[in-house]
Amino acid sequence: MKYIEEYRDRDLIMKLADHIRQSAVGRYSFMEVCGGHTSAIHRFGIPSLLPPGIDLISGPGCPVCVTSADFIDRAVSYSKKENVIIATFGDLIRVPGSSSSLEKERSKGADIRIVFSGLEALNIARSNPEKIIIFPGIGFETTAPGTAVTIKQAKEAGLNNFLVLSAHKVMPPVMDAIVREGIRLNGFICPGHVATITGSGVFGFLPEKYDLGCVIAGFEPSDLLQSILMLLRQVNRKSPVVEIQYTRAVTLTGNAIAQRHLSDVFEFTDAEWRGFGTIPDSGLRLKKEFENFDAAKRLPVTISHHNDNPSCICGDILRGLKKPYDCSLFRKACTPENPVGACMVSAEGTCNSFFKYVPDE
């Protein structure tokens, strides 16, 4: 299939793996921050192609995984209200909050519908004028523009029954937090889809402030291997920069239209990240002129804050400090069908990827 198979070509991949083996002199730790990368790395069996000195560490780039339990509790609380339809991406429904999940509420009778886009949620709002439709907006710079467009369309259509519960987040502040926490890294495999929107420029602080190499990577096996090779060479040369491997999608300045939608509708706010706590200016909330569509403003709910299960090490996994095998719950109390932590829920979660794709050590 065009645009897929050429990037999965076995000969090309074997050549790249050879180059990596020849270039690797010593030990390297690279973090892939994007959950899509984590999933692709394990799905294609990339670690089995790398020499033992290269460690790939998964970061906090799965939107479902970094969503706080408080956010789930809020969504659960909305789902129990009369006349409310929760229209959500499928990944979110199984994420455990402090005592329930959207999936459990659905089996008790809550009206919870899975959508593939915000616009689909908007259609539900149009055809159910007597109901309030709440769309939990999760995701990074990649999905937030879609939510922004949806909110603009809701405003144009004069819809009064469509609300967004925003947990949208942006990537650079959490990458900064990871480095400041002192995790030993030699470089970042930067998120290709986020960079498609933002441009590569937003990662410039990593080489400048912290001397860390950055390669913005695509999602096919040859993309990932080429990115790892580019990072290796940066480290060997001791010349960290931001390089774009994913040139078929990413430019220096990114997608100006999507950026404009984002800045029209959203503004930065402090946001809570599972595993990190509050990170300043790392979240997106609706601007005042769109607050009519802000679930937090229009339909405030109070929830009591609960601490996460103390045995769950999702926080350390999201920060790259530990691997799923280090968790006493992994594959035992915590499985994809009965997840304790959010990293086990989403297809892009580190624990879920390890569970699905990586044989027991």
Binding site: I13, R106, S107, F116, T335, E337
Partner: protein, 335 residues
């Protein structure tokens, strides 16, 4: 097990297996191993007996409808156990207000498919429930057929040995993607047509000429992955599968890439997995390929003494990973 039934319990994955094993099979005293059809031996006659309910949404999709599906599904469940399907029952739960015209089209498809498969629909039941008490139409079919002697091992997999080859009868995922496309909740349409078909004639032409069919299953809910996982459990060996040799049509692969599905886990309604002895797999492939429903049949892997209890996938890109049992709902109400 959580307190309430969730959609996951009907997914054909791990929770569904647990529900069946820990509740129904235990209460009903059903013998292990549980297979697609029960085999009943009485007074010198061996019968295969099976039942299945159909709740597909929407009722009509490219390549078929709920009625055709209800016949094919039961015919295939019988056929993969090595039986010759003969008689089928059909029960209908109909929502008040359902158009009679649609019911006629569905009944026509059932008659046509039964005719094609050489089975007779001989008994049934009809219930109508109030508006909103069921979703349009649900169908349950049961079927029975004669098990040919010497084929009892096909559903239990007793004869599987190291070195056996894994064959799939065609491209994966068409049914799931066709139904999903027909739901109109995707903002694009696709050309994918369901593979919904009765495979008994194709299966019987294999069984007529080959003696090393060691196991057979249709790849319905949970897809190829669910059957491979079942296989490692019952054979207590490992499997090696070459991703590159698993047939998937381009439109299906493309939609999987976009929607984040994996074709290994998608439901099919006209595809089987055969575990074949190493001396006979080429012959089996040849017979399958000579049949319209098996043109794209492919050798995808083998049974190994290594990796016990695991399915190891050699990825297209030359890496290795495990292929796990599907867990949770990939797509509800696909059949």
């Amino acid at each position: 097990m959580s307190e309430l039934i969730t959609l996951n319990h009907g997914s054909g994955g791990k929770q569904a297996h647990e529900l069946i094993r820990n509740l129904f099979a235990r209460k009903f005293g059903m013998p292990e191993p549980m297979t697609d059809s029960a085999v009943i031996k009485e007074q010198g006659i061996e019968l295969a007996f099976t039942t299945d309910s159909y709740v597909v949404d929407p009722l009509f999709f490219p390549g078929g409808n709920i009625g055709k599906l209800a016949v094919c599904g039961t015919v295939n469940d019988l056929a993969v156990s090595g039986a010759v399907p003969k008689y089928i029952s059909a029960s209908f739960i109909i929502e008040e207000g359902f158009p009679l015209k649609d019911l006629e089209i569905i009944a026509d498809s059932m008659a046509e498919e039964a005719n094609r498969a050489g089975v007779r629909i001989v008994t049934g039941d009809t219930k109508v429930v109030g508006k909103g008490k069921c979703d349009k139409l649900f169908i349950t079919t049961a079927g029975t057929g004669f098990l040919r002697s010497g084929f009892e091992h096909i559903s239990t997999g007793k004869k599987i040995i190291t070195g056996d080859r894994l064959i799939v009868s065609g491209a994966l995922g068409n049914h799931a993607i066709a139904v999903l496309g027909a739901r109109n909740n995707l903002s694009f349409s696709s050309s994918v047509v369901s593979d919904c078909a009765s495979l008994n004639n194709m299966i019987q032409s294999v069984l007529a000429e080959c003696h090393q069919v060691h196991f057979m299953r249709d790849l319905t809910r949970g897809g190829l992955a669910a059957v491979l996982y079942e296989l490692v459990q019952i054979s207590s060996s490992g499997l090696i599968v070459d991703e590159i040799s698993v047939p998937v049509e381009d439109p299906v692969r493309g939609l999987c890439e976009v929607l984040g599905f994996d074709p290994f886990y998608l439901a099919n309604e006209g595809k089987i997995l055969i575990v074949a002895g190493e001396n006979e797999y080429e012959k089996i492939l040849k017979i399958l390929r000579s049949h319209p429903y098996g043109e794209k049949a492919a050798l995808i892997g083998e049974v190994t003494a290594l990796h016990k209890g695991n399915v190891i996938l050699n990825t297209t890109s030359g890496g290795k990973r495990i292929l796990d049992i599907p867990s949770g709902v990939q797509l509800p109400r696909i059949c």
